[in-house]
Amino acid sequence: MTENNTGNKQMTLKDAIGKFVKDGCSITFGGFIGRDCVAAVHEIIRQGIKELTVIDDSKTDMMDLLVGAGVVKRWEGAYLGYGAIGLAPNIRRSVEEGIPSKIEVEDWSNAGVSMRYLAGSLNVPFMATRSMLGTDIIKYNRRIKVINDPFEGEPVALVPAAHPDVAVIHVQRADAMGNAQVWGFTGNDENKARAARHTIITCEEMVSTDEIRRRGNMTLIPFYCVDAVVQVPYGCHPQSCYGYYAYDVLFCGDYHQAAKDREEFMRWLDRYVFTSKDHAAYCEKVGWGRLQSLMTMERHFNRIPG
């Protein structure tokens, strides 16, 4: 809408999170265990935001961090583990033992959540899917309605549109208007940006609007969906960012090891989040040489044109 369109939506990560992410609000994050909004998650924890409802598909360390830090009240989603590394220690402690607090969990499948965001992006109240039928996902999640469809008479599941208060999405390139370009997989990002009431774009590089116009087909999220644009280089570390840097498997392994113990996790949080004033300070602790190595690895395989 007009009031949302300006030539300069650029701001700091601190200001963007402070302005749009409020205690008790609902939120979703772009990426799909890869191109994750790690820097934004650290900032949310740093600002002491509480009682978030996260509506998302699959998340690994960033949800483990948020839950361990006590930021989350409720999760509506499909997957909270740690990929090939294992289970997510803070998620387990929260659900099994209520440490530091017990999050509410509403289970969906990834396709189910994907359809909730597609419906949200279309501004229709629901979407039909053939997933989840016949299983305990539907038994325990009463918001999934099974109907006989009025055209063919066969059972389908209806899932309600998702409309979180905020979406945070990390992309490779954006301009100050808010046009966001993505290379590699796109996850559900185009739909999350549209379904959310407010969208914050974080990006590796700010580019000119002329540069955006050179590759209009790469604009996944147009300016009119976007409220704030923040440049955060290495904003996904330790996750990967296609064309920029590879996944840091050893850093993640170390995190996973630390997170198994509550006190060690708190020390990790202290070191990498609370005593890092911003993402650059976090990168400093990770080590710029290490980040360069991850970039070297990624660029051996993938390069973004231009």
Partner: protein, 283 residues
């Protein structure tokens, strides 16, 4: 199985690789299923295309992935698109085969990846697992589903605590169709000791193939119901050297197969990067 030529994980990868056919489109999770897919491409299925739920279709497999959205999943892909699109293409029936892990499987091939209740319940479980992820969607929609998990008594149960992913549901005729599920259900359960299949008339899992050095009694003792055995029980061949070599080349730093121990044995991240780049042309 104490044979030191190969590990249980390596054998699982090789047995799973045989389930893929050339020119199929396969929906394969990260970890051992992915190594199986890469191995199949090296041998009998060079035109197998792998799809990742993040939105990557048909990548060149230069390196293994630890997450479905790792940039490696996109290396040289034929098509890079969205998660919702890939799940929709799955719902259209474009994907031939899916490989799924699970914490628990039951007699009718239903899978649990949500929670082990123990003496507790869904809301306060003994072990909270990751949840469905894309597992339910694969089990619901794909024609042929292969399940992969270790053979352990707590994993092979008569009835799973929570059906995350549909197998043949309650096992009654047409149960999947009545529920509205498009896919035809699981076709194999690959473990570290034996391979199971499903009876086409009863939809019940039975022991189809045992691995070298394993006996049927050992298998029966680890299954939580009276498992039936194929009239002609097969014995899997020993993995060939070239198969083992392919599996190891796919995971040169041994981080998928070796887990935390292998991570510790690496001197530095740079060593891992060097290993990955040096081996990247090999499959």
């Amino acid at each position: 199985m104490d044979n030191q030529r190969y590990t249980a994980s390596e054998l699982m990868a090789i047995m799973t690789a045989k389930e893929f056919r050339d020119w199929e489109v396969a929906f394969v999770g990260i970890g051992i299923p992915l190594v199986a897919g890469i191995t199949a491409k090296r041998f009998h299925a060079p035109n197998l295309n792998i799809v990742y739920e993040s939105g990557c279709i048909g990548p060149q497999k230069y390196r293994v992935d630890f997450n479905v959205g790792d940039s490696s999943a996109a290396d040289g892909a034929l098509c890079l698109t969205s998660e919702w699109r890939v799940f929709s293409d799955m719902q259209c029936g474009y994907y031939d085969v899916g490989v799924l892990g699970a914490a628990q499987v039951d007699k009718f091939g239903n899978l649990n990846t949500t929670a082990i209740f123990g003496d507790r319940d869904y809301c306060l479980p003994l072990v909270r697992l990751p949840g469905s992820g894309g597992g339910n969607d694969i089990g619901s929609n794909i024609g042929r589903v292969v399940v992969m998990l270790r053979l352990e008594p707590l994993r092979f149960v008569e009835k799973v605590d929570y059906i995350t992913t549909p197998g043949f549901l309650d096992g009654t005729p047409e149960a999947r169709k009545r529920a509205g599920l498009p896919g035809s259900g699981p076709v194999a359960v690959v473990t570290d000791k034996a391979l199971f299949r499903f009876d086409s008339s009863t939809r019940e899992m039975y022991l189809d193939t045992i691995y070298p050095g394993v006996d049927a009694g050992e298998v029966k003792s680890m299954v939580g119901w009276e498992i039936k055995i194929a009239a002609e029980l097969k014995v899997a061949p020993e993995p060939e050297d070239r198969e083992l070599a392919a599996v190891r080349a796919a995971d040169p730093a041994n981080l998928i197969m070796g887990g935390a121990a292998a991570r510790k044995s690496l001197a530095s991240l740079d060593e891992y990067i060097d290993l990955t780049i040096r081996n990247s042309g090999r499959f």
